[in-house]
């Protein structure tokens, strides 16, 4: 089953084409990694899928409906790259607020805090947490409503390796339970955690394949090497 389907998507900013994707699909119940350096258009593509990006042309269908449809707001969880939580509230107040907006009982807060491994320091304000902790509070807020589709923009950036592995394990568990995840990362070493990989470069999809497929295609074991090989092959520039 296909959770996201994109056709002829074009996004322009200041007259310049920043994303151009003729065809792209994300399978439901899988972890799809959106890889690419910063500025490659990952965030713009994600915003177009969530329906908050003004687009020039084409269409994105999400869970069977056009991106941006009001009824999708309950079914999609979008985590922006900057932790969009209230710095002048505590962790629990933040999550309590988002739970109230979603209309779900506050009992769910403990479960999501546990899932993202944020210690519940009762009186500490979110602005006094570390950057990584803030990111995880933001992630917890997205998980509150158990959305069918998670769009996570660089959720593991700046985290220590152990935490990063734990979060990828969480993403895997969510996918096993039927959630579809589209996760961006600029760090190619994270590619190995994904079921499907999409490499974005200058707003265009360079390759879209599974990790095994990429290894086979390039006869390289290391995914980072495989990516470099593909970029070199397409663009004719020696690595």
């Amino acid at each position: 089953m296909v959770a996201i389907e994109i056709r002829d998507l074009v996004v322009k900013r200041g007259g310049r084409t920043v994303v151009e994707v003729p065809q792209f699909a994300v399978e439901a119940g899988r972890v799809t990694g959106l890889m690419g350096s910063s500025g490659s258009g990952k965030t713009t593509l994600m915003r177009a899928i969530v329906g908050v990006q003004r687009i020039e042309g084409g269409a994105a269908d999400v869970l069977g409906q056009p991106a941006g449809t009001a009824s999708l707001r309950r079914r999609i969880g979008y985590m922006t790259q900057a932790p969009s939580v209230y710095g002048d509230l505590t962790v629990r107040e933040n999550l309590g607020f988002f739970a109230a907006v979603l209309g779900i009982p506050s009992a769910r807060i403990d479960a999501v805090l546990e899932a993202v491994r944020v210690p519940d320091r009762r009186r500490q304000l979110v602005r006094d947490l570390s950057g990584g902790e803030r990111t995880r509070v933001s992630l917890a807020a997205v998980l509150l409503g158990r959305p069918e589709l998670l769009i996570l923009d660089e959720p593991t950036v700046g985290l220590d390796p152990l935490l990063r592995v734990e979060l990828w394990r969480l993403f895997g568990q969510l996918a096993a339970a039927g959630t579809t995840l589209l996760i961006s990362s600029h760090s190619l070493e994270e590619a190995r955690h994904c079921d499907e990989l999409v490499l974005l470069r200058e707003g265009r999809i360079l390759v879209s394949d599974s990790p095994e497929g990429l290894r086979e295609r390039t006869r390289l074991d290391d995914l980072e090497d495989a990516f470099v090989a593909i970029i070199t092959e397409r663009e004719g520039v020696p690595a």
Binding site: G51, V52, Q53, R73, R74, L89, A100, V101, L102, G103
Partner: protein, 245 residues
């Protein structure tokens, strides 16, 4: 629109203010302190204190709510929380109503404190009832909130948002008739003043202070205040875009 979401927004803004006791104290105490200053400024002219005091009392909440709202909403826009909220199942009206509810509550507290000090301790004397002055102060505060929400769309930084106070409110305060009766201004300024919302906010307060009742003209003033509030909220809602470039 849902009452639960509206209350959640109002409760959240209140919680944010509770974590910032200094702002809360400034909001509640500064108007009362300024009124005290005014009282002793006009020490030898109690009649002037009565004439200026009531309108000022009713305009303070407008100014502070304008500032607080424009900064709060600007922060919501720049930190990405607005974008997150707009991707959630929430009506823009919930957001506006939630803000309105919370800032109306703050304005009521503020108006209550400044009224208690002015009428109780400083001997402010108006022809009309102190409650009516207080009620107008709350209505003005909500107008200030609506204007603040609207102008926050035109500010990219907090520096700019703060500058909207002297740029947007101060001219209205000068022209509203508080300093110079509007009939004595250059004709063109009098005409401009007729088109500014603060003029009507001042007028209603002046009527209560001097005549003791709103009367027909005062009803028109209140209608203009309410209509401007609705217009500013409508325009403000239009600036909360779900889709951006």
């Amino acid at each position: 629109m849902s009452a639960g979401v509206t209350f959640a927004i109002a409760r959240r803004v209140l919680a944010q203010l509770r974590h910032d006791p200094r702002t809360l104290a400034l909001l509640i105490l500064v108007p009362a302190l300024l009124m005290t200053l005014l009282r002793f400024l006009f020490d030898a002219r109690p009649a002037s204190f009565d004439a200026v005091g009531a309108p000022l009392l009713g305009l303070f909440p407008l100014i502070s709510m304008f500032l607080v709202t424009s900064i709060t909403v600007l922060r919501e826009r720049t930190t990405g929380t607005l974008e997150r909220l707009l991707t959630m199942p929430l009506a823009k009206l919930d957001l506006l109503a939630g803000y309105g509810l919370e800032f109306a509550l703050m304005a009521t507290l503020q108006a209550f404190a400044v009224s208690a000090v002015s009428f109780g301790l400083l001997g402010l004397d108006t022809a009309g009832s102190a409650w009516l002055v207080g009620a107008l102060a709350v209505a003005n505060a909500i107008l200030g909130m609506a204007l603040g929400l609207f102008v926050s769309a035109f500010a990219a930084t907090e520096f700019q948002a703060v500058q909207f106070l002297p740029a947007f409110l101060l001219p209205q305060l000068l022209l509203c008739g508080l300093f110079v009766p509007r009939e004595q201004m250059a004709d063109i300024l009098g005409a401009v003043a007729d088109g500014l919302p603060l003029t009507y906010a001042y007028d209603a307060l002046d009527r209560v202070a001097a005549d003791g009742a709103l009367g027909g003209g005062g009803a028109l003033d209140v209608a203009v205040i309410l209509a401007t509030t609705a217009l500013a909220l409508g325009l403000g809602a239009a600036t909360l875009r779900r889709q951006t470039a």
